[in-house]
């Protein structure tokens, strides 16, 4: 190892975002340190954010003697030392878990694929996520080396109107869900004359199934803060607040550190020149309320009140936080702003479709082989994302649907897989972009159960201010719950009839909630129900008429039985049954007493002869 003999250290990158840490990245780091200590060497470990290929976490990159950066996935503490030995001592790079080498200006190693050519990354376009998993998110120098703060420097050399013009020209639309033109929003705020204005960064990523904002904040903190500084300059604000949810402790810690460093380096003050600028930044921790992702609710929460939305107008750009003009932008939007200002609007607007420019980051999760964070140009088809990038459904199961947009979005079935992902196309099938959660579902997922799940979520997250949302979603949930509950629970015949009546009115109720709710949360709350009703009506019907759940997920509708031919009478199921619902003599076939059965599935799990059948 010549490089080390000369006193230089070996360099290792470890992905230490939340997903990396949860799968043991910290232990890998300890193992690398031990490896170095045993050899009396100094190792330079850089903790990066998440590169997005979460399936392969923990990921470790080793910089070779000749300067190439080679990435390995699924690294355990046990193999970390082995990889370092092989790469640095024996110069053998083809190891298990090899993901590829980075393009970093050095001549690539022969025979080692580029990481951009990896099937998971090949079709992706990294615009916002370019730095995530690549640089040290806590280092200003690293960020600068990647072209950071160019956008801000370019912005303050322009007038405010010119900056807004550039953002408008790029066609950037809000990535938080609604897709409002960012430039337009800023222009309105610029026009509002006031001595005090605010820039708010919405990092209250409450959508279950979404983690794009967390990854960006953890992996490329400065890009978001730079975006806020540009926004602050453009609208004439002198204070920026990042409203981040408390469930993201690592992101909050990194933002706080980054703000300190920015202050120390004096980057927040530009007192000289014709465009003087002074800005303060701070973090406000959310306290766990989904509705606070709505901009007026978010502002109420920052003011220390219950996070309840209010009717608009007045829009926040006129009267926002503390009655001052404010803009609220999503994390991904602000990260985009930094890059747009740095590289010009053209490179951004060259990507995407006519009305949806640029790229979009998605959290691809659920029943998909390669779960993780993906960034694709707008207009890519859903099929490409799920099958080409995501690698399809594991275990040879059949694809059923993709849930897009979280509790406000809808399910897209297989016949619409070739739909282009952009703001308008998704609306035609009753879904919406949302913030970017993509949950893949296979044949084992029950769509009625999904609708019930989302409605339950909305019911508990509704702030309670307006009646359609507070009461309507509650009724909607009761109807869905009655569909998946057994008849035996119903007390009398009349109750059954009433239930049927309610089921008939479900669609109408959903429409009323949609039309009359106060804020976006309520207006989009029935979407999961309406879209599953539209595409999976048959599944609802078999729940309602046949009392069967085709996917075997709704416990109330399952019946467990023992195949008397296959049962050997080993008594294991009877011993494990929590309600003693299984009877039978030793070495003779057993039976399940249906009235006692609570459908826990324990007997099915423990039977070694596959004698327990579920229907």
């Amino acid at each position: 190892m010549n490089a080390n003999a000369q006193g230089a250290t070996c360099k290792v990158f470890i992905g230490m975002g939340t997903c990396g840490l949860a799968t043991g990245a910290a232990e890998v780091k300890t193992a690398v340190e031990k490896w170095a200590a045993a050899r009396g060497e100094k190792v330079d470990i850089t903790a990066t954010g998440c590169i997005g290929y979460c399936k392969a976490e923990p990921i470790m990159d080793v910089v070779t003697e000749t300067g190439q950066r080679v990435s390995y996935g699924n690294v355990t503490p046990e193999v970390a030392g082995f990889i370092l030995d092989e790469v640095l001592v024996r110069k053998n790079y083809k190891l298990d878990g090899l993901l590829g080498q980075f393009k970093n200006g050095k001549a690539p190693l022969a025979g080692i694929p580029l990481i951009d050519e990896h099937p998971y990354f090949r079709k992706q376009v990294k615009y916002v996520l370019r730095n995530c998993g690549v640089i040290d998110p806590e280092s200003i120098a690293d960020y600068r080396a990647q072209g950071g703060f160019k956008g801000f420097e370019r912005a303050i050399a322009m007038t405010q109107a010119e900056v807004i013009k550039e953002i408008t020209a790029s066609g950037l639309r809000g990535r938080g869900g609604s897709g409002f033109l960012t430039g337009k929003k800023w222009e309105l705020a610029l026009q509002s004359k006031n001595d005090k204005k605010y820039v708010l960064c919405n990092a209250d990523e409450g959508d279950p199934g979404a983690f794009m904002d967390r990854s960006i904040l953890e992996g490329d903190t400065y890009a978001v803060l730079e975006g806020m500084m540009i926004a602050g300059y453009a609208i004439g604000a002198n204070e920026g607040i990042i409203y981040c949810r408390a469930e993201y402790p690592l992101a909050i810690e990194r933002i706080k550190k980054a703000i300190e460093l920015l202050k120390n380096e004096g980057l927040l003050e530009h007192p000289v020149g014709p465009h003087a600028f002074s800005f303060t930044l701070r973090v406000k921790m959310g306290a766990g309320a989904f509705v606070c992702g709505e901009e007026t609710a978010l502002m109420a929460s920052v003011e220390g009140r219950r996070g309840m939305p209010r009717p608009r107008p007045p829009f926040p750009s006129v009267e926002g936080l503390f009655q001052k003009p404010s803009i609220v932008n999503n994390v991904e939007t602000l990260a985009n702003v930094s890059h747009i200002m740095g590289e010009g609007a053209e490179s951004f607007s060259a990507m995407g479709t006519q009305n949806s420019k640029g790229t979009k980051v998605f959290a691809l999760t659920g029943k998909v082989a390669n779960a993780g964070l993906v960034e694709v140009p707008m207009g890519m088809t859903l099929r490409e994302v799920v099958f080409d990038i995501g690698g399809g459904i594991p275990g040879g199961k059949a694809f059923k649907a993709v849930q897009i947009g979280g509790p406000s979005g809808g399910c897209i079935p297989s016949e619409h897989l070739d739909i282009k992902i952009d703001y308008e196309s998704l609306k035609t099938v009753g879904a919406m972009m949302g913030s970017g959660g993509l949950v893949v579902m296979d044949e084992d997922t029950c769509m009625v159960d999904m609708a019930r799940y989302f409605t339950a979520f909305i019911t508990s997250e509704s702030c309670g201010k307006c009646i359609p949302c507070r009461e309507g979603t509650q009724r909607l949930y009761e109807i869905l719950d009655s569909i998946v509950s057994p008849y035996a629970k119903m007390a009398d015949e009349e109750e059954n009839l009433l239930r049927f009546n309610r089921v008939l009115n479900m669609e109408g109720l959903a429409q009323v909630i949609k039309d009359t709710s106060l804020c976006g949360l309520g207006q989009s709350a029935p979407n999961p129900v309406l879209s599953t009703l539209r595409f999976f009506r048959k599944e609802y019907e078999s729940h309602i008429y046949d009392r069967k759940c085709p996917a075997h997920q709704c416990k109330g509708l399952l019946t467990y039985a023992i195949d008397t031919n296959a049962c050997t009478g080993c008594t294991l199921c009877a011993k494990k049954c929590p309600t003693q619902a299984i009877v039978g003599e030793k070495k003779k076939a057993h039976y399940i007493v249906d009235e006692k059965c609570i459908r826990c599935g324990t007997c099915h799990d423990v039977c070694r002869f596959s004698a327990v059948t579920v229907n």
Binding site: T18, S301, T365
Partner: protein, 161 residues
């Protein structure tokens, strides 16, 4: 979060905040981080400090999921109920916890060791199903693993890994 160190008096915690309503949520968060929950006494103290009716503070504390008004267990298990976790069977994890702990969601075991709660989404959907225990994330779980973790911690009387 080991409850071994002495909790600082509430006055010391909140005195650094300016007396405006804007700081209410931050104050509540800091008090809860120190004591584990918001007691009736702490709410009264904060009320006096901010000159804000305690009903208003109670309103805020009950609105947000984060705030607890009862003392939690020493090991706080939070099962993620996000979409990805739901699709991958987080209800089974919840059932496993309920059965092996003998408590329902929102309750604390009688010995004060465990408390069980659900969280809307932890944001680590790629390693679903997941749970968070005293701030530490666990991913790619199944029923068996959860049960064995609970057993280990119960035997040790604290969180061990």
């Amino acid at each position: 979060m080991e409850a071994t160190k002495e909790a600082r008096p509430i006055g010391d915690l909140i005195s650094k905040y300016p007396k405006t309503r804007e700081n209410l949520i931050s104050i509540l968060q800091e008090v809860q981080a120190e004591y584990g929950y918001l007691s009736r006494e702490s709410i009264t103290t904060i009320s006096t400090y901010l000159n804000l009716p305690s009903s208003k503070i109670f309103g805020v504390a009950t609105f947000y999921n984060q705030f607890k008004l009862k003392a939690p267990g020493r090991i706080q298990i939070a099962i993620c109920r996000g979409t990805a976790c739901h699709v991958k069977g987080s209800l089974n994890l919840l059932d496993a916890c309920r059965q092996s702990l003998g408590i329902e969601v929102g309750e604390t075991s009688r010995d004060g060791l465990f408390s069980l709660e659900t969280v809307a989404c932890l944001g680590c959907c790629s390693i679903a199903p997941a749970m968070m225990v005293n701030g530490k994330f666990f991913g790619r779980l199944d029923k068996k693993r959860v049960e064995s973790l609970v057993e280990t911690w119960r035997a040790a009387g604290r969180m061990t890994e």
